[in-house]
Chain length 237, copies 2
Amino acid sequence: MARDLQERIKKLIIDQRLPSGSPLPTEPELMERLGVSRNSVREALKALQAMGIVEIRHGFGTYVGPMSMAPMIEGLTFRTVAGHYRGEDSLLQLLELREAVETGLIARLAGSIPAADLADLDALVDRMDAEAAGPDGAVRAETDRAFHAALYRCLGNRLLGEVLEAFWDAFHRVRTDLVDVPQDPKVTCRQHREILDAVRSSDVLRAERAIREHFGNIRVRLSAPASTTVPHPSYDR
Amino acid sequence: MARDLQERIKKLIIDQRLPSGSPLPTEPELMERLGVSRNSVREALKALQAMGIVEIRHGFGTYVGPMSMAPMIEGLTFRTVAGHYRGEDSLLQLLELREAVETGLIARLAGSIPAADLADLDALVDRMDAEAAGPDGAVRAETDRAFHAALYRCLGNRLLGEVLEAFWDAFHRVRTDLVDVPQDPKVTCRQHREILDAVRSSDVLRAERAIREHFGNIRVRLSAPASTTVPHPSYDR
DNA sequence: AAGAGTCAGCTGCTCTAACCAACTGAGCTA
DNA sequence: TAGCTCAGTTGGTTAGAGCAGCTGACTCTT
């Protein structure tokens, strides 16, 4: 029945064509309209919130959610962390997934990427260089994220961008928490530059090779020090 | 605080290294251990259930979930349906996502796929032929799904398989419910056969082309009859 | 008259207490 | 021994009360 309740609320959103951000009926209203107690309404809304379908703001109201992939990040992160602790190569599997998607996309990109995006990517690689040469001696994670996001922006596929972002996010969170991956910032910079140059010169094969090399690099750094797993960092996220 | 509760339960699972299927404390136990009311415990569990982290069985107990991508299917399906109704090309975006992943994977497959899997794939394409020539004159969806699943099985990446399955599932559900896509079963069979043969002969480029052609075919059938959108099939799933 | 502070009213959040429904397993009956 | 019954456990649902965050109108001060 609780399952059914969620479906009825979803149906409400679909049938009324409510866009993201639209206000949903209040809890008392839903109680009456659906003929269930307040508690059941709340449990259904909580589940929908966990799926990103609904957004609840205390003292304000309930709204149609942004339909983002954020809940997927949560689930994926947890799954990867749990698998990692059980000795599975879940982090590597996540990396392979990212590699598959980006490899499959880069071909469509080479040659058709707008000049404006190329300029943004140039600026990002420059920033990477600066950060690598800076006081920390490492490329900031956010810069790497921005590069990969900017790369596929021109495809005009919102879902694609969000899924890639979700994968990146889950991967990064787990890597940061659990594994001490040695980084060579210069190599990182060089590889991103190579990807960018390949895409700029419309060289599909070179672009694919560059992407594979980039991920292959991460993969090696990931598998090699299998013993650097943090034993018990008291997972809290 | 509700957010915090979920995290504490997740932490419980992680810290105790509980594998999928392990029993979790009962609701009264969680009440006591976490110092909150039963209601709050239940709402947190509901949310975790929606994320696939926890599995609740009435009259039996609560267990660590299978960590499958099932909740992602729900979310993705809803998101795609909602987007479709709002006039977005969400179904096309989903298809592009599938195409990107499979295109990126096929290269790693060509040449390294075991003979046993090739045999399975042969049998599946044969079944497609039989179904196309059968009374329905159409390839069963389940057969198509099985083909794509069997294709990537040998990569030994559980996450990959599940994500692909999730994408396939969401796509198929939305397509079935919302859009009347004309099918030519013979073309479908031929394209799957081509993919299989290309992979068998270790011809990477041919395999990539075959995959792209397969998806390109679906894409065309999807974009062309933009007017066949079912106006209001009273979404219920 | 204009601004800031206050309060009433919405909203969602949490708790308590009770009963319903599904499942298990021990004990009883045939 | 085989099957049934019933008590105990677990999650599912309802009800009612009070708490907490936000909004907007009202009032008091300047």
